[in-house]
C-alpha cells in the first residue's frame, strides 16, 4: 500500500501521523519505507534516529525525495510492501505527483477555521488527481481528512461534528475518529519512537490504532 500524508497547511501533525502509519504498517511484517518529500526532513531524521537509538524495535527504512516522485515511488513499490510518503505543508510537485501514484491520501487538519479553509484547495487537487488517474486506468485515490490535536472535552465534539459536515460537503472523506492532543504523541517521538513501541500510554496506542484503521481501510471500521 502507498500512503501519502499531505496537506496545504503546516503544523498539523503530518510527520507524526506519517511516522505512526509507517510503524503500524511495518508491524504487518511487510518491509516498509518512509519517504520524506518534505524539505524540512523531519521524518527522515526521525527514521534515522530510530535506526540508531532503537535497533531492536520494528524498523522502517527511509529515503528523502523531492520534485516529481512518481518514478522513484514506482521503483520502491517493487521492493517494499508499504510506502508512506510525508509531503510538506504546501501544494507542491511532490504532493501532486504523489497523489497520482498513492492508494490513500491522509490529510491531517486542526478543527480550526483557517485550517479547514485550506481543505477546499486540497479537495480540488483530489478531484484533478482522480481525473488523471481515471484517464490512466487507475482506481481513484481514497482521500480522508483526520482531525488532529483535538481537545478531550465533551463540548468539543460538537465542533468536530460541524467541521466534519463542512469537510464532507467539499467532497472529502473524514476519519470517524479524531486524534486527541496528547503529550505522549510528542514524547514518543524522542529517539525515533512511536506510541506503538511501548504501552506507556494505552489510550494513545488504542486511539492511533483506531484512527489508522479508519484512514487506511477501504471502508471505515465501526
Amino acid at each position: 500500500m502507498i500512503v501519502l500524508v499531505g496537506s496545504e497547511k503546516g503544523g498539523v501533525g503530518k510527520s507524526m501521523i506519517a511516522a505512526h502509519a509507517a510503524v503500524r504498517l511495518a508491524m504487518t511484517e511487510k518491509p516498509t519505507i518512509l519517504v520524506d518529500a518534505d524539505p524540512q526532513g523531519t521524518s527522515w531524521a526521525w527514521a534515522q534516529s530510530r535506526k540508531h537509538h532503537q535497533p531492536d524495535v520494528v524498523q522502517v527504512d527511509s529515503q528523502q525525495m523531492t520534485g516529481d516522485i512518481r518514478s522513484d515511488i514506482k521503483a520502491l513499490a517493487h521492493l517494499y510492501g508499504h510506502i508512506v510518503i510525508d509531503c510538506g505543508g504546501a501544494d507542491s510537485v511532490a504532493l501532486r505527483s504523489g497523489m497520482v501514484v498513492a492508494n490513500r491520501l491522509v490529510i491531517p487538519s486542526k478543527v480550526a477555521r483557517r485550517d479547514i479553509e485550506t481543505l477546499k484547495h486540497v479537495a480540488g487537487l483530489v478531484v484533478a488527481a482522480n481525473e488523471k488517474r481515471e484517464s490512466d486506468g487507475q482506481s481513484p485515490i481514497l482521500a480522508r481528512v483526520v482531525f488532529n490535536m483535538t481537545r478531550a472535552l465533551p463540548n468539543f465534539w460538537a465542533r468536530i461534528d460541524s467541521a466534519k459536515e463542512v469537510v464532507e460537503s467539499m467532497g472529502l472523506g473524514v476519519s470517524k475518529y479524531p486524534i486527541v492532543d496528547r503529550v505522549s504523541y510528542d514524547d514518543s517521538q524522542y529517539q525515533g519512537g512511536t506510541v506503538f513501541d511501548s504501552n506507556i500510554d494505552p489510550k494513545a496506542y488504542e486511539e492511533m490504532q483506531r484512527v489508522l484503521k479508519a484512514l487506511l481501510r477501504k471502508t471505515q471500521p465501526e
Binding site: L25, A77, L79, Y80
Partner: protein, 89 residues
Amino acid sequence: MANFDPNDSDDFVRGAEKRAKSNDSKPSDNQVMLNVRVPKRLRDRLKLTAVQHDRTNASIVEEALEEWLKNEKKHNKKSRVNAFNDDGL
C-alpha cells in the same frame, strides 16, 4: 613415574618417539588450514583475525554466514512483496 626402563638405552630413545606419537591432541582451530579451497589472502586474513581477536576460524565463518543468510532472507522477503496492492491494516 618414568614410562621407560632406565637401563634399556634403546627403549629410552624409542620411548621418546612413542610419547611424541601418543600426543595426538588436535592443534587449535586457528592453526589448521581450512578444509576447502580458499583464496590465500582470505585464508591469511581469517587466520590473522582469529588470532588477533582470540576467536576460532569456524566461529568467525559461522557468524558471517548467519549474518549473510539473515540479509538474504530479508532481501528475498522484499522481492516477494510490492506496494501496489491496495491492502493496509
